[in-house]
Assembly symmetry: C2
Homo-oligomer: 308 residues x 2
């Protein structure tokens, strides 16, 4: 059957959507997945950060994601995504998720077989000093909750924003180097320097589970939360609180595991919903775990995951 | 302060987002707004059409919206949007909204002052026979609930899909002509040939109201629903049922009007939520009113509306 793209004005048809559109959808499915204890989800808002801000942030970030796919310098593409997110949402909704998505999108665009731990790591390792400077400039657009810098790296404190760029250039640190400095305190940085292992592991789980993609995502979130203490919770509330949250997530998974590992309904679980309400009320937000979920949803979408 | 876009690899920075990204956001805010009696919203799914399908449809449609902004033939851009929506969502989530958005996005991209009833009408009136052929081909991608064609226009029945293209070409009807044929039975077609009056009127309301944009959207939806019977409800369930729905919407607005016209909380209203649940349970979906809301949200976003 003929298609309008054959006509005089139509450019070549895109087959399906682009990595940038799939990354945008990953951000949307991440925020929609519910319950995600402590995070904004389809059923929960934070006092100053509501569901619709995440919708705006995701669409605002898309041009930056497209730039990452198109081969623009990765740090510049990331900064563009953060700037677009901040302009659209008026706050920081998805900084960490965009940092994780940047090398994943680059890897997906560069290789038609989909991103792998190897191609994503190659994209991360290819970053330069200029990418690191872009990264620091990205902090000018939004308030990001960052902890103390590592010993001996006060000049590279991200809270200095663009003022740290001269130190970055003098020391000659790449964006991958910056991530390595932060890997012990930041779960997204740990992915950059750790083969994106948790991201791809959660993507595997999303592929194994069945049902609506946002319901699978809610379960993957709880599994990620149980597996390792959330680093944003640790920075804000201390490591003990982060461990308590992980322990409670593990209990909830264990309690509900009688029906088999893939049959556990996290979506619709009253106990998980109660935990979610409690964490939101306490202001405990495992935002890094949500970032990992967004990355894993992107990988799953690239592999062809769809909602039935 | 220097920005990465000044550097060697950065293309010129986009100021804000593009009309296509704002149109995508309009689709997202439309589906998120709750309660929207009878429609999928943040709190309600239909049995075979869930919230996440609309997220996928909105991101899948974006390349078509971008093509409309870029000046591609309007019908071809629309067909591309529908194809992308259908591929991503696996069903028809936003066909009518995309038909309404196409001339609005074209008008927004062509004129930096934002779309107006005049520029949108000019975009609609500029369509040709080729656009009409594209429109019929779009029906090949999805199941759209369409009623009987007008008398004497059986050959132009949209249910024929691409098979109607030869009749379109023989008769020399433009897409605007096709909309004029359907305007008495389809609320989106009526916008195309009626100066987009309801779309811009609802956009005015969105600008007048205060609070979260999705809450303003819920009120604008109820006002649209009360003002005229929904044409999708009329096609599926009869004109009497459509009038009953409009009358009930009007009653709910009247009952809650004591606090002043702009103070009425539609979001959070138990009575409106009950009406929403009842319509979803009865399978009565005022989808055309939701299409108008999506168009009005786009106009409001182009005018700079943001969520506080």
């Amino acid at each position: 059957m003929s298609r309008a793209g054959d006509g005089p004005t139509g450019p070549p048809r895109e087959v399906g959507r682009s990595p940038a559109d799939r990354a945008t959808l990953a951000l949307l499915l991440e925020v929609a997945a519910t319950p995600k204890p402590g995070c904004v989800d389809r059923e929960r808002d934070h006092p100053d950060m509501r569901f619709e801000h995440f919708l705006a942030g995701a669409t605002g970030a898309r041009p930056g994601l497209a730039a990452a796919a198109a081969g623009e310098r990765l740090g510049a593409a990331f900064e563009r995504g953060v700037a677009g997110m901040a302009a659209a949402a008026g706050r920081n909704t998805q900084f960490g998720a965009l940092l994780l998505l940047a090398p994943l999108v680059r890897a997906a665009a560069a290789d038609g077989d989909g991103p792998t731990t190897s191609t994503a790591t190659a994209a991360a390792e290819a970053t330069t000093v200029a990418d690191a400077a872009d990264f620091y400039r990205a902090f000018e657009h939004v308030d990001v909750f960052a902890g103390e810098p590592p010993d001996g790296a006060a000049e590279l404190d991200v809270r200095r924003g663009a003022d740290a760029v001269s130190a970055v250039e003098e020391r000659g640190v790449t964006l991958h180097d910056v991530m390595a400095l932060a890997a012990d305190r930041d779960g997204v940085a740990a992915e950059w320097t750790g083969s994106f292992e948790r991201t791809f592991g959660a993507a595997d789980r999303l592929g194994e589970l069945s049902g609506p993609l946002s319901d699978r995502a809610a379960r993957a979130f709880l599994e990620l939360l149980a597996a390792e203490p959330d680093t944003l919770v640790a920075r804000r509330h201390g490591e003990e609180r982060a461990r308590e949250v992980a322990d409670r997530a593990r209990e909830l998974l264990d309690e509900s595991a009688a029906g088999g590992p893939d049959a556990v309904p996290v979506h619709g679980s009253a106990a998980v919903s109660e935990f979610a309400d409690d964490l939101v009320a306490a202001g405990v937000n495992p935002g890094t775990t949500a970032d990992l979920l967004a990355g894993s949803l992107f990988v799953a979408l690239e592999r062809g995951a769809v909602s039935p």
